[in-house]
Symmetry: C2
Subunit: 215 residues, 2 copies
DNA sequence: CAAAAATCTTGTCAAGCGTCAAGATCTCTG
DNA sequence: CAGAGATCTTGACGCTTGACAAGATTTTTG
């Protein structure tokens, strides 16, 4: 046994390494294209994004898309999964650092406002894709994954707040998420409609809602 | 003076009537097309609806659209305004009939559930169009009109509830609307994803939120 | 280094889009 | 009823789309 048998000589090992490298490269290209797609989707919207647009925002030509993805839909799915990985990063560290209800309340509200300001178009895209999933059943699965992730994030905040405030939450996890989602979506729409003050409004509302959920 | 001068003889009056009839007919055709457009948008979505699709759901051929509308966008705008007229009808009568907090709470929750069940695709379309308005600034105006209408409707319910419960509301009008919108949108997504039980969940949540807003 | 495999570019295809214009058809007017 | 005007159909246009295939180019293999 061990790693030096007749069937696993140096040649074989080299081949394995090569295969792994090839796979990695393949996945890396897919990631690259998906990233270009995210950029494009963010500023042009699902309805107005063509595969050529996406390729133009990448180092490659339009034909390459079909080399790495079978379909426009498959690209979209990969796209959304990729978005998912970054979308709740900031929030968890707030949970760890906050030690008082007030701190958590304001930290969370801050984070929401930052998200609104710094990732405006990215979240516009999220809502656009989620809407698409109401028409395109192939997207339902991936969208649900992210929705779940976001719900869990909100719930971690709410239940931690409940701990710190020593008061039980008055709402279930899905409801808490729906409410915060409603607030954020409204703020986003207003923000994009040319009302920058909606950011500060969102801050107050987020903090207020948290206080309301655990009186 | 009066209506029988030399310039306003029978001929003139007939002409006026004809003109009015022509105008009415013109407006009626626009309404007819807008209605077909609403049907089409509701089941195919903004991204997948062409002017030919719309014409196919109408008694006319595709060319006629450009006889009554200068533009696809103008049709959309007319469309949305038309949707607006029906979208909050049911709710006001609940306000008039309810005499106790419980009655209002359950009446309102009922109405929301009915809307979810009976006008599923129509409201999917509403969210689709509202999303489009984040990319297409020509739509912002009309969308805001409806958003305002919906907000006012929610606010009438909340403040009436506050009266009946003899307890001041803890939330502003925009916040109340955002929260209910969040609940409804979530229920709609789940409902369309094949979870009919989300209707009953929505009922409980709507009633619960009202109770929470005015403790 | 040469053959083979992987990767990328380019050009093409049919289909569908919004828009428009010419002319058929219907309706009203004098 | 004849002519005029309003209304509607039909077919066409230039363009974009997702998809694909043939071949150029690069990378890997023996």
């Amino acid at each position: 046994m061990g790693w030096m048998t007749t069937t696993e000589g140096p040649a074989r090992r080299r081949q394995v390494r090569a295969e792994r490298a090839a796979v990695d490269k393949f996945e890396q290209r897919r990631a690259e294209l998906a990233s270009s797609a995210l950029t494009t989707l963010a500023d042009r919207g699902f309805a107005n994004t063509s595969l050529r647009d996406i390729a133009e925002n990448s180092p490659y030509s339009h034909g390459v898309v079909h080399y790495y993805f079978s379909d426009k839909l498959e690209l979209m799915q990969h796209c959304i999964r990729q978005y998912k990985q970054d979308c709740v990063k900031h929030y968890d560290e707030i949970l760890d650092t906050a030690t008082t209800p007030k701190e958590l309340r304001e930290g969370f509200a801050d984070a929401m406002v930052m998200t609104l300001r710094d990732e405006t178009t990215l979240h516009r895209m999220w809502y656009d894709l989620r809407n698409q999933s109401m028409y395109t059943c192939e997207l339902v699965g991936v969208i649900q994954e992210i929705d779940q992730l976001l719900e869990q994030m909100v719930w971690r905040v709410v239940s931690r707040y409940s701990e710190l405030a020593e008061s039980p939450s008055r709402m279930s996890s899905p409801v808490a998420y729906s409410l915060y989602d409603g607030l954020f979506l409204r703020a986003l729409i207003d923000y994009l409609a040319g009302k920058p003050e909606s950011a500060e409004t969102l801050r107050r509302e987020c903090a207020g809602l948290l206080a309301m959920l655990c009186p």
